[in-house]
Point group: C2
Chain length 320, copies 2
Amino acid sequence: MKVLITGVAGFIGSHLADHYLAQGVQVAGIDNFSTGQSEFLVGANKNPGFKLFQSDLFNYTNTEKILKEFKPDAVVHLAANADVRFGLNHPRKDLEQGTICTFNILEASRQAGVKQFAYSSTGSVYGEPTVFPTPESCSFPIQTSLYAASKLAGEALIQSYAEGYGIKGYIFRFVSILGERYTHGHIFDFAKKIKANSKSIEVLGDGNQQKAYLYVGDCIRAIDHIMKTQNEKINIFNLGPDEYLTVNQSLDVICKTMNVQPTRDYTGGKRGWIGDSPFIFLDCTKLKKTGWKATRTIRESVEITLKYLLENSWLLERRS
Amino acid sequence: MKVLITGVAGFIGSHLADHYLAQGVQVAGIDNFSTGQSEFLVGANKNPGFKLFQSDLFNYTNTEKILKEFKPDAVVHLAANADVRFGLNHPRKDLEQGTICTFNILEASRQAGVKQFAYSSTGSVYGEPTVFPTPESCSFPIQTSLYAASKLAGEALIQSYAEGYGIKGYIFRFVSILGERYTHGHIFDFAKKIKANSKSIEVLGDGNQQKAYLYVGDCIRAIDHIMKTQNEKINIFNLGPDEYLTVNQSLDVICKTMNVQPTRDYTGGKRGWIGDSPFIFLDCTKLKKTGWKATRTIRESVEITLKYLLENSWLLERRS
């Protein structure tokens, strides 16, 4: 069994590589190291079953060459523009790093005879839904961010490739993922701000945004489990927990763990930024019916993440 | 009032240009003439209110230059890869001529301060729905063709631009359009085949595919009407008739009009090709509530189209 992971030096990609390598699976990884961290691959690099390609998916020729050299059975495409919040500052970035790179790795996978193609989509493709928890079959959504628009474009490409060329598609609509090696998002931002100033902290929006978060280990096990047990032409699964937390509650956990009590300065409004969904809570009944179960609560995940960041302050300092 | 139309030398684009020019609107058109026909612009070219730019939307720099020179109030983006059936032969074509060109004209429109951006999407974005007629709010679809995947990607881009930058979005999910200047599709293919051989004709699929078709004049009036009367951030409308015809019934009308009785050789199967939806019938209640009404039945539209093609056999001969 050979698996290729894109974005392998990222938060989720590096965990997935470790997970597969522990099973004896041969793993190749692609990363352009725009946001990936070589430190995350220290373990994988020691394993002879691991092969790293430093390459950008935007370069189709290189991508096809790598795929034809490694000949994976399955591809897990995790690479993306992680800079969700600032999408409106550079609208071409999500098109290029999202849609076009997804096309490139998908087409290269077809050319190399890949059988399974898995993709990290997002719960944000539901836009601002009216049904909570939101099931995979909810009504035709309207996109509110360039990030989600590029993820939806990627989903649609994979679906039409599955229909037209017979490659099996696995689409995972993630909530935000937490855990060791977490590199961006609200806990990262809060921890960084509190380290700089423990007296007061800026909170985007009114702090009442409700969000679901999943522990990275639970995310990894879900991907592996679904790809091993599900065999439809297109397999679409929400991936999240049974609960959610407000941004304020999440900050409560962080403040308690860090033993600080900063005053909170709210920027105001229901949304932290344009395109921020004020409520993300996915219906994961379909996933749970396959036998998967989350092992960590959101509060535990927040604590683990924060502890990791405080023990690895190089990461807080490196990423702005 | 100034309107820019992409794909202006195409079937629908040239009608829309004529329609606006007749109202005294200033019209600019962009076309790369890959499938556009200069003959369709004979009328428009005589009007001093019309300006034609021969340019490819894939070239962003040129596109932005044209937009900044003409400074339209509204853009109607109709240009696309019309070669739906053969999408699987060249998967990059829909990405480039669909998704990327849509991004380019949308971004250039934002840079030029355009207020309204209208887009010809397709009923095919519903994939193979289970509800008929299919409403705009049906459940989250799964794409079955690269053409529809690129249209959905375009919809998502426009939605996120509307949310993020305030440009008003108009998304029209068309059924197939019929009428004068029709350049591709089943009537075109049938007429061409019968002219070559009136004794027997190949029919893709089992001939029982059910399809809705709309007269081009009704389509044009709907676009104009919706853009004048609707003012939401995002305005999404199905655009089709209250009826549908099977491919066989459509062939009946064609054979009767041409006074031939070829034997029918079916290629078999429910679908004419991979990604061909066996039943397209859109719920246009939302559109009709705005006061719009179709003026032609499908049968009338088929007859008008066929008559036009027989009187303009240069078109049948030119396009393969």
